[in-house]
């Protein structure tokens, strides 16, 4: 095998060219890793805290809680179906919620944006983690704000007040986290406070019902949806969250794939050009290597290694730059609910590994033909020049 130091030195000698090629690959890896990180963040935000044994009941045809509303009087029928889990006292404890969009001035911009507000019957039923302040007292004009949107809208920081319709002002007394889920982009308050303020008395947007097990879902769904009088639809919580992302998730992934493809082809060709030139300049050296007894395979391997090393330098650079994306918060209008959701870029070891691997593949593919050409050089002709 040709010593590795030969390749490393060759790269070092052609500093400018090496740097330009590596930088090109670094940019591709940066974009690719960012896209992967964003995709992870998206999945986490839109599906993380979903529980398969939780059934979400919405008005038939409504695609989001914010667009759903039905009469509260239907709830007894909804919780009395078979498959619903009950506590020691035989109670089903359904979680009622009203979800509305609230237009508020967005801090740092001139415009208004839509914030999702959720009124829940019993805050204690949701296992939220309060990271600042305290839990609101039941039945009062107090609210919790999700960590992701804290301070992003007017009045949404701790100890500030959010303006509701009919002149009501709801005080923010605490900040909560929920494992990075979409709930962190919401404001949570008392069910009745929200209903009276929005004129939705007697209505609910959704009811969450805990089932005895995830397998009980199908039976429960059929039982409830067969009752056409109810006019409701039942979803597993994970499926419901999936629907929330709508085509957005698919669109972003499709776009990301297309972008990554075009970018990486560009960078791969860059690597090919560099390796080609480098090999053309080293005809004599390669001839000498062959004359010394290194086999064609050894030469091929040696140049592939050089190309992969070149790409990995770029990969390392790009991946390290991508880690800094961790500090970027990405806020976007959810097309289904019309409210704003905040996403984070999540640099997991797998993501960085994948990006790094992609760099290696670019080096391998980009360097293959030049390396093949090098291995086919005839020693005698090359040395003669």
């Amino acid at each position: 095998m040709v010593p590795v130091s030969y390749n490393l030195r060759s790269l070092a000698v052609r500093r400018t060219t090496t740097a330009a090629t590596a930088l090109g690959i670094a940019l591709v890896v940066f974009v690719f890793a960012s896209v992967l990180m964003f995709s992870r963040g998206l999945t986490r935000t839109l599906g993380r805290s979903a529980r398969p044994d939780l059934a979400v009941v919405l008005r038939k045809g409504a695609d989001a809680e914010g667009r759903s509303s039905f009469d509260e009087t239907n709830i007894p029928i909804i919780v009395n179906a078979a498959g619903v889990a009950r506590d020691a006292h035989g109670e089903a404890n359904p979680l009622r919620a009203v979800v509305v969009g609230l237009r508020l001035p967005k801090v740092g911009t001139a415009g208004l944006s839509s914030l999702q507000v959720r009124g829940v019957g019993d805050l204690n039923q949701m296992s939220l983690r309060i990271v600042a302040g305290r839990a609101p007292a039941a039945g009062t004009d107090e609210a919790l704000v999700g960590a992701a949107i804290r301070g992003r809208f007017r009045g949404t920081d701790l100890d500030q007040a959010i303006e509701f319709p009919k002149g009501r002002r709801v005080r923010v007394v605490g900040v909560f986290e929920d494992g990075g889920s979409a709930f962190e982009s919401e404001v949570w308050t008392d069910l009745d406070v929200l209903r009276s303020s929005f004129g939705l008395e007697g209505q609910v947007s959704s009811v969450r019902v805990r089932l005895t097990s995830a397998t009980a879902f199908e039976g429960y769904k059929n039982a409830i949806e067969q009752n056409r009088q109810l006019g409701v639809e039942v979803f597993r919580e994970p499926d419901y969250f999936d629907r929330q992302s709508g085509g957005m998730n698919l669109l972003i992934r499709a776009m990301a794939l297309i972008i990554s493809f075009f970018f990486s082809v560009g960078a791969m060709i860059g690597a090919t050009i560099t390796m080609n030139a480098s090999i053309a300049q080293r005809q004599r050296e390669i001839g000498t290597l062959r004359a010394l007894g290194f086999s064609r395979g050894a030469v091929l391997f040696s140049f592939l290694l050089e190309s992969v090393t070149l790409a990995l330098v770029g990969g390392l650079l790009g991946a390290s730059a991508a880690i800094s994306m961790r500090f970027v918060k990405f806020s976007m209008l959810n097309m289904v609910s019309g409210a704003e959701i905040v996403f984070a870029f999540e640099p997991t070891p797998e993501v960085l590994g994948t990006a790094f691997g992609a760099a290696a593949v670019m080096g391998l593919v980009g360097g293959f033909f030049p390396a093949l050409r090098a291995s086919l050089i005839r020693p005698l002709e090359a040395i003669r020049g």
Binding site: T21, G61, T109, G111, P165, I258, I259, F262, N276
Partner: protein
């Protein structure tokens, strides 16, 4: 004469290493097609805001779209000075019973006044008359009708997604829109028909009031007057011009647009690195030649002309090829796919001719910028050193 010689030399220089030239152009073409794609995505979002009308106002509940407006607000708006015409609508949102997977943006409207306020809706006189007459009639956008395979006279049953209910309608006409701005994907039907089916508490309420003012300059004043009129009432309103609404919607996806912007700059940077590298290689290989030329009496600017000329040719060829390819690839390939599969997210996906012109210019500029450093290096290196070098 001399300039011609130099230009010929520049082109010869490019052709000397055909393989490298081909690869460089290929890389740049890929990058430029990607660039056009990204710019077109951004344009697709802006096209609505660009073409949105400024003299049409929409009035909705001040803080929440969940709360409808009382019907009497419509007449109150009509009575304001400066308002030429007003109408109202409620978004029902629906799915047809025989197309359960396609979302149909069904809008319940007052037909006559709606067509007056939304005068970009184009429909034949007889279809219009038929629709106005039939309380259960629907007017369907061309694109939507095509998607659902609907034709005039056909019956369709809608199940509401935002409002509970089921409505049986007959298609009375297919409409197109005179401006590109409208997505043209709606189904319109009589609000009166909807109202009959609503519960007492929902009845006689509308989601939006639309008004047309006498001129764009009056829009702001009229909008403020409308909101002032309802400020003290139970249901306060928010009135914005259509353009302002579209811009606000854009703000919602501004982070996507920013990242697409960044990505399009990154792709240019990558192609600049590849181009610059190729040109630098060529220059490095020809140090002796350049020294000889200078020894023969060619001035530094001639060398710069040679190197920049080479870069310019690269940029132009890559730019022309990129532009030629991006139209079929972006508009006919990806554009059609996106419109068909994600029409609700990117309804209007067309390559703007200005984007193509800009791309060509940018390609040339990128080539020139990439050649900057190699050209300076070539000029600065002493003649004698270049002659001395063997290689």
């Amino acid at each position: 004469m001399r300039a011609v010689t130099l230009a010929a030399l520049a082109v010869r220089g490019i052709l000397r290493n055909k393989m490298r030239t081909a690869l460089t152009v290929l890389a740049a073409v890929f990058a430029l097609v990607a660039f056009v794609l990204l710019r077109t995505i951004v344009d697709a979002y802006y096209v609505f805001a660009d073409q949105a009308s400024e003299d049409r106002l929409s009035t909705r509940h001040k803080v929440s779209a969940a709360v409808p407006l009382p019907m009497r607000y419509v007449d109150a708006v009509r009575g304001l000075p400066g308002v030429r015409a007003a109408t109202f609508a409620t978004l029902v949102g629906s799915k047809a019973t025989n197309h359960p997977d396609t979302f149909i943006p069904a809008l319940a409207v007052e037909p006559a006044s709606f067509l007056e306020v939304f005068d970009e809706v184009v429909v034949t006189a007889e279809a219009k008359a038929a629709w106005l007459e039939d309380r259960q009639g629907a007017l369907v956008a061309e694109a939507l009708a095509r998607k659902l395979g609907l034709s005039v006279g056909e019956r369709v049953t809608l199940v509401g997604t935002r409002i509970n209910g089921e409505w049986q309608l007959t298609v009375r006409g297919i409409y197109s829109t005179a401006r590109q701005a409208s997505s043209g994907s709606e189904l319109l039907f009589h609000w009166a028909h909807l109202n009959e089916t609503l519960s007492p508490r929902e009845r006689d309420h509308v989601r939006w009031v639309f008004s047309r003012v006498r001129g764009a300059t009056e829009a702001v004043g009229v909008g403020e007057a409308i909101d002032r009129m309802f400020e003290q009432k139970d249901v306060p309103t928010l009135t914005m011009s259509e353009k302002a609404v579209q811009l606000a919607a854009l703000a919602g996806v501004s982070s996507i647009l920013t990242s697409v912007d960044v990505a399009s700059i990154v792709i240019l940077a990558i192609s600049m690195l590849v181009l610059g590298n190729t040109i630098a290689m060529g220059v490095r290989e020809r140090v002796t030649e350049y020294a000889t030329l200078r020894a023969l009496g060619f001035a530094s600017r001639h060398l710069a002309f040679l190197i920049l000329g080479e870069a310019l040719t690269f940029g132009f060829v890559a730019g022309a090829l990129g532009v030629a390819l991006s139209y079929p690839v972006v508009e006919l390939g990806m554009g059609r796919w996106l419109e068909q599969n994600m029409g609700n997210l990117v309804p209007y996906f067309r390559v703007d001719p200005m984007t193509l012109v800009a791309t060509l210019l940018i390609a040339i500029l990128v080539g020139l910028l990439a050649a900057g450093i190699p050209a300076i290096q070539a000029i600065r290196s002493p003649v004698i050193q270049g002659l001395r070098r063997t290689g």
